[in-house]
């Protein structure tokens, strides 16, 4: 039962255009910054918001066909949704919350409660079956919400920001739980998140959503290797420069962006035009004096922040364009790097990887 | 601002809602009066006493007469509960007795008029009532005053006299608060017929209500007593009003169809 989405949807003044596919046995992440349109997309797939254009098809079943005029209401869709705010029914106990999807579809009360009790047990909250949502801890409530989405054995499982409301400790535990449940879930699985770590660790394919559009689809490795947008690049920690690639007389290329220009090796067979340049922070060299050497890219600017990660430090510079350099902690000490210190940053043209857009 | 306006409007309307339902005529003089006389009178006296009151005020400048019209039983009850009434005019001796025996007591009691009952029907007589017997027909919607109200008791007496009590009473659809309420229900056409006093079909409503006389041999003669209520602050003026009713007032009462006292 493959999910095929190809739609434009609008909510208020906001619009989203997305086309992607999700097959059973694979977990797809809809990943993007807040405000990018992910929740509009969730609402559309769930059936709460009919799309303006396009179709949504699940295993041959037409859920939405904007041009054809058909819209299957949410209650008839074989889906299970876990919501960002959980939205557990406050007037029902945990077990009745979980039993709800079965009873709503006509199931008998005792059968529904029995299956709910089993599922709650498997997810580790069997003892809290009769508790009200307001008496549950964050992690417990999350498990109950997950159970409620799973219990009717839907063809499509949709988890909206499943871990974002949790504290760090609970997050780790719940992530493992979710991973386990996803692995044994036979249908299509979609996770919506703004956290790249969550996406990378739980999902097989990432669909990047930015400003109402899908900017890239691929596995975490594919995206890490060839990110196609600043967000994607930031996501994997690279410097990214987006602008027009113009040829220089000596065969190199000048990537002209709004924030400054960078010299890069001319990519083979390219005609120039819109392109994205990528630079690993580790390839940026910092010095207190103007560097000697043949590096074609030399910039001078103030240190705006220093973030220590393990034995390395990521140093942000207010150069034109802005840069992130990764240096050892001893370098930080040796150079006396602090916020406000002026330094020289340099890197070779060939270290800038150019991808046509 | 909008909220203040709404609040103000609601307060005004609520105030109006709590307005009295029993108050009758009032004096029209804005200046502070010398004497204020409060009168409780049977509802059937509304029109006649309104005119009598006006005449008394004209004859006694500086006096304001305020009326409280209603069912005689209710009025007597109010007086017995301590309502500050100067003169009481009842449509039956029973309720004057009540004020005399169970209430503050009375002075100068005298009968000042008599009245007869009649059948009243809406204009056009939709149910085709021509006499008392017609009131016993199936489906006739008959309205009486409640028991205890003089005209209500009298009506039941008339039925007993005519031997039609059971059948007629079975047609009663409402027991009204006083005789004017009976007239209102008949006037609007919601009732097929009612029993009221002959005096209740005033010229004002003659186009909407038709009077059907009741034969004298079964009819009831209602005797109306009037008296000064003991404890009145204006006992002298109250007595002169009673005298006025017995004097100049008699002609006015006759014009409205009342019979002279026995």
């Amino acid at each position: 039962m493959t999910l095929d989405v190809d739609i434009s949807a609008a909510r208020g003044a906001f619009q989203i255009r997305a086309a992607f596919e999700a097959v059973p046995g694979q977990t797809v992440a809809l990943l993007g910054p807040n405000g990018s349109g992910k929740s509009t997309l969730v609402a559309t797939i769930a059936g709460l918001l009919p799309p303006v254009r396009g179709t949504i098809e699940l295993g041959g079943m037409m859920l939405d066909d904007a041009e054809g005029g058909s819209h299957m209401p949410p209650e008839r869709r074989p889906i299970g949704v876990m919501f960002q705010d959980l939205l557990l029914f406050p007037h029902l106990s945990a077990i009745d919350n979980v039993a709800f999807p079965i009873r709503a579809r006509g199931g008998a009360r005792s059968d529904a409660r029995e299956r709910a009790a089993d599922l709650l047990g498997r997810l580790g909250v069997g003892a809290r079956a009769e508790a009200r949502p307001r008496d549950l801890s964050g992690g417990e409530a999350q498990r109950v919400a997950l159970a409620r989405a799973l219990i009717a054995e839907p063809a499509l499982l949709l988890l909206d920001e499943p871990l974002s409301a949790l504290d760090v400790g609970a997050r780790v535990r719940i992530r493992e739980l979710v991973r386990g449940e996803l692995a044994r879930f036979p249908g299509v699985r979609i996770i919506v998140t703004h956290d790249p770590v969550e996406a990378s660790t739980l999902c097989d394919r990432l669909v990047l959503v930015e400003e109402g559009r899908v900017t890239q689809i691929g596995s975490p490795e594919e995206i890490r290797t060839a990110p196609r947008s600043r967000y994607a690049a930031d996501m994997v920690g690279l410097n990214s420069f987006r602008g027009r690639l113009e040829p220089l007389e000596d065969g190199a290329g000048l990537l002209v962006t709004d924030e400054g220009s960078v010299v890069a090796a001319w990519p083979e067979g390219s005609d120039g035009g819109e392109a994205m340049g990528l630079l690993r922070p580790a390839d940026v060299t910092l010095s207190l004096q103007s560097p000697a050497g043949s590096a074609r890219n030399v910039f001078r600017g103030q240190v705006t922040s220093i973030a220590v990660e393990g034995d390395r430090a990521r140093v942000r510079l207010a150069t034109a364009p802005p840069l992130v350099a990764e240096v050892t902690l001893s370098s930080v000490q040796r150079l006396g790097l602090r916020d406000g210190v002026i330094v020289w940053a340099s890197f070779k043209a060939v270290e800038v990887q150019v991808l046509p857009l | 601002m909008k909220r203040v306006l709404v609040l103000a409007m609601s307060s005004i309307l609520l105030f109006a809602a709590c307005g009295d339902s029993g108050g009758g005529g009032d004096g029209s003089e804005p200046s502070s009066p010398e004497v204020e006389l409060t009168l409780s009178a049977a509802a059937s006296l509304t029109e006649a006493f309104g005119e009598i009151g006006g005449g008394f005020e004209a004859a006694n400048p500086g006096t304001i007469v305020t009326f409280n019209f209603g069912p005689s039983d209710g009025l007597a009850g109010q007086i017995n509960e301590g309502a500050p009434v100067d003169v009481f005019a009842s449509a039956s001796p029973t309720w004057m007795d009540s004020v005399q025996d169970d209430g503050p007591g009375i002075t100068g009691r005298v009968d000042f008029a008599q009245n007869k009952l009649a059948i009243v029907v809406p204009a056009g007589n939709p149910a085709g009532i021509e006499n008392l017997d017609d009131l016993t027909e199936d489906g006739v919607q008959l309205v009486l005053a409640a028991e205890g109200v003089p005209v209500g008791d009298y009506a039941r007496e008339v039925f007993a006299n005519a031997g039609i009590s059971e059948a007629a009473l079975a047609n009663v659809v409402s027991n009204e608060e006083d005789v004017k309420a009976v007239i209102t229900k008949v006037q609007s056409g919601d009732a097929d017929a009612g029993i009221a006093y002959v005096t209740d079909v005033t010229p004002d409503i003659a186009e909407e209500v038709t009077l059907i006389p009741i034969p004298d041999d079964v009819n009831v003669i209602a005797t109306y007593p009037i008296a000064v209520v003991n404890g009145s602050q204006e006992a002298d003026v109250a007595q002169s009003f009673v005298d006025y009713v017995l004097g100049d007032g008699q002609q006015i009462l006759a014009e409205y169809g009342f019979l002279p006292p026995p």
Binding site: A46, G47, L48, P73, P74, E75, R77, I79, G80, V81, F83, D85, L86, L87, L88, F89, P90, H91, F100, P101, R103, A104, R105, P133, R134, L136, S137, G138, A141, A149, A152, A165 | M9, S10, L13, L14, A16, A17, C18, G19, D73, G74, G77, P122, Q141, V143, A146, E147, G148, V172, V173, S174, N175, E176, E177, K185, S188, G189, D190, A191
Partner: protein, 275 residues
């Protein structure tokens, strides 16, 4: 605490302010209580307790009681069904003239009851009513002087209370819970029955209690429009009024019954629904 949604407002208050109530408020509050309590106290003291059983088991009283219960309950039920539907439309849709509609619907609250009765006659009177005359001429249906008229009068005055309480309840609902329910497979009817209504239970109880109590006490519109006949239209307030003219003891006794009835209903719901 879980980050789920709740429909009831927070009842947190600052611990530092508890107990420090301005004296002025206390005095005014006491006056308010006295205003209501004194007439009740007067009634209690004037009620002829030695005769009360005899009076209340009389045919007049029992008939009026039975009729009042039937009329008030029917009126409250009608007010609820119609009121819920209207509240839904007012809260969840927009249409031109919505403000006017709400103003009209709330009007009976500020209308003198007798005026309401006159209005009902103007609409449903047999001869002159705009709808009533048509019903009578074409179908022979007469509304005045019937128990139905008493129900109609009681519904007219209690309907606005139901609408206001239910509207407040619907407004306070988190609609996302209803959306969630549909994605979990619930039809719109199922959502209404198992999610919307249960979440509104306190406001529903308030609507029912308020409209029932108002319907129980209705007098002016009833006596003007429905008339006064034992067993058919003489509800408890009308019985009290009639008794007041002749047997004040009985009037007090029946008044006491009315009050005890209303009290019982209010108290029975206090623990569960009214805050």
């Amino acid at each position: 605490m879980a980050t789920d949604s709740r429909s009831s407002p927070s009842t947190a208050s600052s611990p530092h302010r508890r107990g420090r109530i301005p004296a002025g408020f206390v005095v005014l509050a006491a006056l308010g209580v006295a205003l209501v309590a004194l007439p009740l106290l007067g009634l209690v003291l004037r009620t002829p307790w030695s005769r009360i059983v005899e009076i209340l088991t009389s045919e007049t009283a029992l008939t009026a009681l039975r009729l009042s219960l039937v009329v008030a309950t029917t009126a409250a039920a009608i007010s609820f069904v119609l009121g819920f539907s209207l509240a839904w439309v007012l809260v969840r849709s927009t249409f031109p003239g919505k403000t006017l509609v709400r103003a009209v619907v709330v009007l009976p609250l500020v209308m003198p009851p007798v005026v309401a009765g006159v209005g009902l006659l103007a609409a449903f009177g047999r001869r002159n009513g705009i709808l009533g005359s048509w019903l009578y001429e074409w179908f022979g249906i007469q509304l005045t002087f019937t128990t139905g008229a008493a129900v109609l009068a009681a519904t007219f005055v209690s309907f606005p209370l139901a609408v206001l309480a239910l509207e407040a309840g619907l407004r306070g609902l988190d609609e996302r819970l209803e959306d969630a329910a549909t994605t979990l497979g619930a039809s719109r009817w199922y959502v209404l029955r198992w999610v919307t209504l249960p979440l509104m239970a306190p406001q529903i109880a308030a609507a029912l209690v308020l409209s029932w109590a108002r319907a129980l006490g209705e007098f002016g519109a009833t006596i003007t429009f429905a008339g006064n006949l034992q067993g058919r239209t003489q509800t408890l307030p009308l019985a009290v009024f009639e008794q007041l003219q002749s047997d004040t003891d009985a009037a007090f006794a029946v008044s006491m019954l009315l009050i005890l009835l209303a009290f019982a209903v209010i108290l029975s719901l206090r623990g569960r629904f009214l805050r």
